[in-house]
Symmetry: C3
Subunit: 398 residues, 3 copies
């Protein structure tokens, strides 16, 4: 000992499925850490009917994991603050209600509500034509819809795990198999873990090519923040190595790419494509600081794993989802054919795996935010920052 304690909540091969479940520090008398509680429940009614949810309350922060939606993270909150946003879509949407190819390939947005949703794994980004091998081996034109299928694929196995040794990390593991005849076929094994009493959680993902041939991989973490972190005067803090606007619309506000305006009805989205500086190990951090500079949401990740970064600004009316997306990714959310032409699409061999780890945090207090600001500045210190005022043809389909 120590080792860990674990319980299987879902396992389709064993037909295990626990509708409701609860585990807490009360089950471990003598465990020296803040009180915590992990709960599994199933949503009922409306489009959320049948959606499985696992919430991890670590005693300070609660993280809401959605196995039915590909192990996405619906939100995280403390007693005072919430990471997430107010989508015009209410609740969490069961994949049966999402037809990805609807609306000219924009059907994905009908289920778009989360703090963090994965886009991929075979493709992500804007809908676009691509050519794939069909069952006869011929190259066939297909319309790849927005952001892929992984967010609408339910987990086939869900496990809750508690480390018996300090710091007693609490984890939810989910396996999501997104496979089919004639491929591509992937397995995502995602582990969401948090330490009791902390203000952060880590998502560790392993994407495996479970098909017999190599497959392309595109992966984007769509991390979305609304009020109270997003507001007029909120700032994006990032150790920028390169930035350009996606298009003429984004160029209009290039000068203020890292600050946010108030909700504006009819606001048309703006996207910026970036690369980040990092430390020697490739670790970096970006943050969204609230208008007062009193608190910030952080995303820590590796530029070796996720070299691309996209900012999505959608400061539309509150009713329409006043939100910004911070999107570390393997490549940019353009049509896959464009990304392939730029050499940014990963070719994953059969049985090969790609691993990514991100930590989402919440920093509270002016001193802490100042320290964070310093940390981010130091990552870029003495390094070049390239700002392209115009869309760059290496990044932007023209």
């Amino acid at each position: 000992m120590p080792g860990c304690f674990q319980e299987v909540l879902t396992d389709v091969t064993e037909n295990v499925y626990r509708d409701c479940y609860q585990l807490s520090s009360d089950n471990f008398p003598g465990m020296e850490c803040p009180s915590w509680c992990v709960r599994k429940f199933t949503l009922k009614g409306g489009k959320q009917h049948g959606v499985d949810v696992v919430s991890i309350d670590n005693g300070h922060m609660t993280v809401v994991v959605v196995p039915t939606r590909g192990m996405n993270i619906q939100e995280a909150h403390t007693a005072d603050l919430r990471l997430g946003w107010n989508s015009p879509v209410k609740g969490m949407v069961h994949p049966a209600y999402v037809d990805e190819e609807a609306r000219g390939g924009l059907g994905w947005i009908e289920g778009f509500t989360e703090l963090m949703c994965r886009c991929g794994l075979a493709f992500h980004g804007a809908p676009g034509e691509d050519f794939v091998s069909d069952n006869t081996g011929a190259q066939t034109s297909v319309m790849l819809p927005l952001h892929g299928t992984i967010s609408n694929t339910p987990a086939t196995r869900v496990v809750v795990r508690v480390d018996l040794g300090p710091p007693h990390a609490l984890s939810v593991l989910g396996e999501v198999v997104d496979s089919r005849m004639f491929g591509p076929s992937y397995r995502l094994v995602s582990t969401v873990s948090t330490v009791p009493g902390s203000a952060e959680f880590t998502v560790s993902d392993r994407m495996e090519n479970v098909g017999g041939s190599s497959s392309e991989l595109e992966l984007l973490y769509h991390c979305n923040y609304g009020p109270p972190l997003l507001g007029e005067g909120s700032r994006l803090l990032a150790p920028v190595q390169f930035i350009c606007p996606r298009d003429a619309r984004a160029k209009q506000d290039m000068a203020t790419w890292n600050s946010y305006g108030p909700p504006e009805p009819g606001f048309v989205e703006q996207c910026y494509f970036l690369r980040m500086h990092s430390d020697r190990q490739g670790r970096t951090v970006v943050a969204l600081a609230d208008p007062q500079g009193d608190c910030a949401a952080t995303i820590r990740y590796s530029v070796n794993e996720l070299p691309a970064f996209t900012i999505w600004r959608n400061t539309a009316a509150q009713e329409d989802g006043y939100v910004t997306g911070l999107e570390p990714a393997t490549d940019y959310p353009n049509a896959r054919s464009f990304e392939r032409s730029k050499g940014r699409v990963i070719e994953l061999p059969s049985t090969g795996a790609y691993e990514v780890s991100l930590t989402f945090g919440l920093v509270v207090g002016g001193d802490q935010v100042a320290r964070l600001r310093g940390e981010i500045s130091s990552l870029a210190e003495g390094k070049e920052t390239i700002v392209s005022e115009d869309p760059d043809s290496d990044y932007c389909p023209m």
Copy 2:
């Protein structure tokens, strides 16, 4: 007091969901009215698996409300007669089985079984190309499928209500949120109510634009009748101000537009576009009288709220759905681009609402039918009726 008694059956924000529920006059000893009973149950098996139903038996007439299908009305019946029809689709279809864009945009018909189903709210009518703003603000061509999305959107909140004062109206309230990123986003609040012992029920709808910008609204009440009200010799009674056939096919039987033939295998549908006369408040009534003139189904509504009216005749074989649709609406079931060009599409501002109320009744007995006939005649008395023998280009895409 009096006030009312109410019980929440579904509320997604509170994760309230009552699988089964029953409330009856037995719960209110001393209430002076016919015995009544409201029941909530969930259908099982086949494509109806998981469909929630609320039936209101007012002691004389039972009204079957389907929250899972956008608060549509499956049927209403008394001991002797049924309002509704026999669709080739059996039971009530869960929205997960309906892909609106399938079959060239005719997927909606896979779930078409109800006495009254709403078409809309952003568009209804025949599939057709239209141009909408995409996420980048650009105008994009989209194929709008048949009859919109509201009928395949489940209610997010369902409440049963009983008036404690006479006449002790029984109501089911449902909220249906049909919203998405980049819009359009609507909330329908529908109240279905009936008075114990009566032979009618009222549907009061409020459509709100819950998006941040103005949105187009198209709304059609697809009210469908089969046997025994529909049969060879059934008559449509209506205070017609204007009528024209939709196309050459409808023109063939223009002379007998208001009477019905027997079931005919292979019969091809006929549509007529109308406007109705009304009283000074805009209230009007249309009715379908059975072949013997012994009974009639009525729809009472306001031409101010629903200026357009379409007759759909589909007197095909019984197996194929021998049925007629009486369809009061904000506009005609043509492609939205055509309706917009005629100025008939409503522009609903953000937070704006559109309200509609219809009463569905059953009139039994030759005397009562004669009185109804007189009432309808008097609405048109001394007023002009324009009969266009040909499709009119103001109403019919040519």
Copy 3:
């Protein structure tokens, strides 16, 4: 007496639905036959959530029937051997996750996992354009997706039946209604039955046109075998009257059409189109013998009912579904317009029915396999076998 015992597990018109159910020889003390057990259960978790399964363990062989997927057969197994294959898609997929029109009309493959799945009933085979009557009677171009809708239509009525007289056959009856406004509308009544202690089961299907007009019928039984029956050196045994390769790809291995190679990553499928000899009553049998010739899977059927036969070879990597499909059918899996032009599409009148019966067996032991080989040879004895080395334009779209 004897007669039979039966129990209704699902009936949508009565809203009968038994979530779990078990019936066994223990319920019939004194019944002289091997111990047997019929179980109904519902799968949970992942894409299989809500899928109903009925397993018939006849004491020697267990047959797994899937009412939710149109009464398909997931697999059959004895203590030693399994009939079925290892699809890259795990478990059994709920139809709510299958969008047939997705991926250019190849969406059907997202749910493809079974030993025997029906393709049809209005069309099967490769996606292709066809012209159908729309609601206005006009001929409209539609894209017919792969393999039709019947496999993704849940049964509306499921009954378990036990013959009280010897040999005490055990049956599961399922009704699957695949109907819609404007048609086509079919009812499949499928009976899966097996005798206690036997190594075979029979599927008896009745397809009815429940619409008011005649409709086209295409039906293919997609029977799929992987290891251990399929392996390097497995042989297909069949009394061939005619065979041709579907295309240049199939022609490459025309010389070895009846033997199988090892798993090959990236192997591109090969199809062969055949007709079989039969006995005077039209009964025939095909078999897949394992590499050692120690056991074989058999399919016995009537060429009067199913005149067409397709071999699908997909000896790809194990991970991608190393599998062969043996496919008796009313016609070939080409686009319906092509099959119609060759006069092979059945026109089923209103209320007309088409009946098919197939028996799936497992033969174990070198002697038994040799006897089977002899039986199949004798069916072709003294009869002509036509081998077309090239695709034949009567069978293959060029």
